[in-house]
């Protein structure tokens, strides 16, 4: 492998870490189509799914182009095995109830917006262009999920209790967002990637403030899950992939 090839592969793997989060969360939100608790929230969640899947297409098209092989965005989305997906464990957690959906979304949105704001300054022009577009979309996502955290937390006794449970259960998945893999470190060094560990403190500060405003308790747990970025996923991931890949594996090469 020559150095250019190695550079493309490293870059591709780094982009997968970012893109796979959007794919799996987009798929999770897509599952809610027709099942949202109200028409407005149903539309909002699927709108957000659409934004995420749109971003994924741009990332995957770029990775396919970088690979230099005869690959398409569909190959990357649908024809990988579980261990090859690099998304964090947070985004694959199930749609247990609306409290979980919103908490998962909010925990991700705050991170996602910070990441995209930094990625805009990437030396890689394609990544920078995707991020510039995504920043605008993700700001809307965060506004929506943050509003709902406040509404549920400071709502009825029932909504408060349920969203607090979701916060407690999903909190241990947040730390992984900031884990720096060798690919991410190499990308930072090359000036194309973002050092997420640098805004970790800001992240926890912002999230904690909103939780308090929503009359929720900030969990004190110091135990965190990880593994997603290495392709070691929770038990939920296989089911998502089965659902998502079914058509493409049954009818290979199928197109819209």
């Amino acid at each position: 492998m020559d150095s250019k090839e190695r550079d493309s592969r490293l870059r591709g793997n780094y982009i997968l870490e970012i893109a796979d989060n959007s794919l799996i969360l987009g798929q999770r939100l897509g599952e809610l189509c027709g099942h949202g608790p109200s028409l407005e929230t149903d539309i909002a969640l699927t709108n957000m799914s659409l934004d995420l899947l749109g971003q994924v297409r741009s990332y995957y098209q770029y990775i396919a182009q970088l690979s230099g092989e005869d690959k398409t965005e569909d190959d990357i989305a649908f024809l990988r095995t579980e261990r090859q997906y690099k998304n964090v464990l947070l985004v694959e957690q199930p749609n247990t109830d609306f409290g979980y959906v919103i908490t998962r979304q909010y925990f991700f949105d705050v991170f996602h917006l910070m990441l995209m704001q930094q990625l805009q300054h990437s030396k890689d022009e394609t990544l920078s262009a995707i991020a510039k577009k995504a920043v605008k979309e993700v700001s809307y996502h965060k506004r929506f999920s943050g509003d709902w955290i406040k509404r549920l937390g400071d709502g009825t006794e029932e909504s408060h209790e349920r969203v607090q449970k979701a916060v407690n259960d999903l909190w241990p998945y947040t730390n992984e967002l900031f884990e720096m893999t060798p690919e991410a470190k190499a990308a930072v060094e090359a000036g194309i990637g973002v050092d997420a560990s640098q805004f970790k403190e800001t992240y926890y500060k912002e999230v904690s403030e909103l939780l308090k405003e929503a009359t929720l308790e900030v969990p004190e747990s110091k135990y965190f899950h990880k593994g997603g970025k290495q392709g070691i996923h929770s038990e939920h991931m296989g089911y998502i992939l089965a659902d998502m890949q079914y058509m493409q594996r049954t009818y290979p090469g199928m197109k819209w």
Partner: protein, 167 residues
């Protein structure tokens, strides 16, 4: 090229102006601001460069096909390229486009600060396209397409779409 400048050869502009947005048919793709470049290449092919409104906008494929069809009708071969940059913003909607939106019943986007205040429900700034009243309220930040939010008018009681500011 700055973000607001487009390069469209005048004789191609008239053809492009016949192509409506598939989801908001009163708006042409030119008024919407998604066409950034249109030139005739040396071999006679027309090359049109478009940008998406939202990353996942499902209308982009249709817009591409419609542009090719419009040129085919005029006896020209066209090819459409989707670009990622510049990132589309609602500032790229033309003045004619804004008027057409209002006539169609969709409130045109406010500037960024006013938009935020309106979408957070802090201030009543969005004007009802039916009766002109500003006594309106947000129903949902997300609407029937990625680019719109849902509002209702408290005076004439009509629900309506608001084209969200994207900058």
């Amino acid at each position: 090229m700055t973000d607001s400048v487009t390069h469209i050869t005048p004789k191609l502009l008239n053809i492009l102006k016949t192509v409506p947005d598939p989801e908001i048919p009163v708006l042409t793709v030119v008024d919407l601001g998604v066409v950034r470049e249109a030139v005739v290449l040396e071999d006679g092919t027309v090359e049109v460069k478009i940008i998406p409104t939202y990353s996942g906008c499902p209308a982009m494929d249709v817009i591409g096909d419609d542009i090719v069809t419009a040129f085919a009708k005029a006896g020209m071969k066209a090819r459409v390229k989707l670009m990622l940059s510049p990132a589309w913003s609602t500032d790229m909607i033309s003045e004619e486009g804004r008027i057409a939106l209002e006539k169609y019943g969709i409130a045109a986007p406010l500037d960024a600060t006013a938009d935020k205040a309106a979408l957070l429900g802090n201030k009543k700034l969005v004007k009802c396209p039916q009766c002109g009243s500003k006594n309106t309220g947000l129903v949902s930040q997300f609407g029937s397409t990625a680019c719109k939010a849902q509002f209702k008018c408290n005076d004439c009681l009509e629900p309506f779409d608001y084209f969200k500011c994207l900058k």
